[in-house]
Amino acid sequence: MSDHEYQPKSKVGKWFNDRLPLLTLGAHLTDYPTPKNLNYWWTFGGILTFCLITQIITGIVLAMHYVAHADLAFGSVEHIMRNVNYGWLIRYIHSNGASMFFLAVYIHIFRSLFYGSYKSPREIIWILGLLIYLLMMAAAFLGYVLPWGQMSFWGATVITNLFSAIPLVGESITTWLWGAYSVDNPTLNRFFSLHYLFPFLILGLVVLHIWALHIPGNNNPVGIDIKKPSKDTVPFHPYITIKDAFALLMFMIIFAGFVFFSPNVLGHSDNYIPANPMVTPAHIVPEWYLLPFYAILRSVPDKLGGVILMFSAIFILFVLPWLDTSKVRSAVFRPIYRQFFWILVIDVLMLGYVGAMPAEGIYLVLARVGTVYYFLHFIVVLPVVGLLEKTDPVPMSISEPVMTGGAETSLARKINEKI
């Protein structure tokens, strides 16, 4: 790569760079050769970085005013909303920011599934990404408990009770997590501590995620290996930075729409009722981004079975690179996989929908069908389709999406249509 040749021009710069090559790193990030055919689905990495930083900054400010005590937490949130200068804005950015963060991460993950970005040589990037996603879910759950409303309290009760399903030690583990014999003040206090910790762990993993990305470089919509740098690539700056900025601004418009004009539409109204251990809400539902997993959990009549299945739904993603047997990365050239990809998208959306509904009647049936299909997709469909599928011809390079012979024009057109 070109950054090996980078030398600072000034004497001071050279002196510093010889001791800590930050300038070399900067040059690497600026020149980083990026496939020139990346579409807008590739802008969500930058958007996610923005989301993380937004959550950290607003979160630090909120923590300056929030009180992590069972008797005071709800009131301190109202204090932020009413008496802190622009407290309402900071809190609404933070609470809606969590939803926007998950919206972006789901698009990012499904982009990876569609274009095969998880495949060799990018398995470590994928696994680091999943660890980030796991920590995000934990952080979001912990954060949702902090306002100490009814959904906070009962959501915390339901989720922490999952651990009691573990044989023999389950009850002890749950008590240990609570720091009490039920969800109570010690629970709230430690959840606050962990909620403050996790974003920084995520930040560390993000650095590793990007580092691992910069070893093989970006995948691209065609999914082929490209020479770097070449006429198939562009320097990260200004080409990708400006494109990311444009996409980020579009994202921010939607974000601002939620924050300013319907800041509570993604939350649950019950969370504006102070936590009351004596009154159970009619339906305990998690935030929307956890609903598919909630549906999987409830689709099993046995508690331990449900917990195992729910965690398996996430952990199966860790072995995804080895379950997918296809040599072709991008679904653009995989006519059969492409259909199954969209069925999976619909399946996950359906699971999310039934997760919000009471676990009875037709919803329970749909949850079970959806759960079975979810696992079938990864355990059966992916390995089998990869072996049997007849893939479309894959181009040799991005600039010349042509193999050989006379079919070139039609193939080139086909690819352009699909990308």
Binding site: K36, G75, E78, H79, M81, R82, W88, L89, Y92, K231, V234, P238, Y239, I242, K243, A245, F246, L249, M250, M252, I253, A256, G257, V259, F260, F261, P263, N264, S269, D270, Y272, I273, P274, A282, Q339, W342, I346, M350, Y353, M357, I362, Y363, S399
Partner: protein, 260 residues
């Protein structure tokens, strides 16, 4: 295949929507009111807020607390916007417990604008005991704490009816069309002409319900007007910036695309 996909999608959508419909049929949907504070430029009706405060003070406040509001809020922009003198007079009409003084004794004094709204009962238990065991919820964020928001609160206030035949009600329980489960422990406290509005508006049940709901909507979201105003500015700024960045992007990428 594409056609098939579209068809499947619509089929699934239709099924989901019909489920939703079945679900909602079990309870009466709240009345939809065309509130002045709806929409992206929505503002509170100042006169309605002042009347609503009067209804709250004369009717609701004998049971319901509003512990997160201060009297000064009544004079702040975006709210009822009572004058400074009016706010001082309102605050002074309440007895506030303060202390301890230098002798270690608690004492009462007239309220000041900086005081929080005085609660009708010393604690939740006392409030429940005085109301047949049902705690009248704090109304500071009530509009945000109910599905359906302002529409729901308004609907409950005007939704009292005689119970349909076959429905038996215990002592101290009332029938309400819009309340979840149709049973409510709050009696129907509104009747025509109950309060005498200073601005001469006729105090019908509907008028009072609308006014007090507007007041509660403001109490739950005192930042609403500021939020809407700032939001419009932020959106305009973001859209202009997006256009500029888009044009820059086109310019920068034209160097690459032309070579393709």
């Amino acid at each position: 295949m594409k056609k098939f996909r579209k068809k499947t999608f619509y089929l699934i959508l239709t099924i989901f929507l019909s489920f939703n419909h079945l679900n909602s049929a079990e309870m009466t949907e709240p009345i939809k009111v065309n509130w002045s504070f709806k929409g992206i430029t929505g503002k509170f009706d100042r006169a309605s807020l002042q009347r609503g405060f009067q209804v709250y003070k004369e009717v609701c406040a004998s049971c319901h607390s509003m512990q997160y509001l201060s009297y000064r809020n009544l004079g702040e922009p975006g709210g009822p916007e009572f004058s400074e003198e009016e706010v001082k007079a309102i605050a002074a009409s309440f007895e506030v417990t303060d202390g301890p003084d230098s002798q270690g004794e608690m004492f009462t004094r007239p309220g000041r604008p900086s005081d929080m709204f005085v609660s009708p009962h010393p604690n939740k238990e006392a409030a429940a005991a005085a109301n047949g065991g049902a705690y009248p919820p704090d109304m500071s964020v009530l509009v945000k704490a109910r599905k359906g928001g302002a529409n729901y609160i308004y609907s409950v206030l005007v939704g009292y009816e005689d119970p349909p035949p076959g429905v038996k009600l215990d002592q101290g329980v009332y029938y309400n069309k819009y309340m979840i489960g149709n049973k409510i422990k709050m009696p129907n406290n509104l009747e025509d002409g109950l309060v005498e509005y200073a601005d001469g508006t006729a105090s019908t049940v509907d008028q009072m319900a609308k006014d007090v709901t507007t007041f509660l909507a403001w109490a739950a979201e005192p930042e609403l007007e500021e939020r809407h105003k700032l939001g419009v500015k932020v959106l305009i700024y973001l859209i202009l910036l997006t256009i500029l960045v888009y044009l820059s992007m086109r310019k920068i990428w034209s160097r690459i695309d032309s070579k393709m």
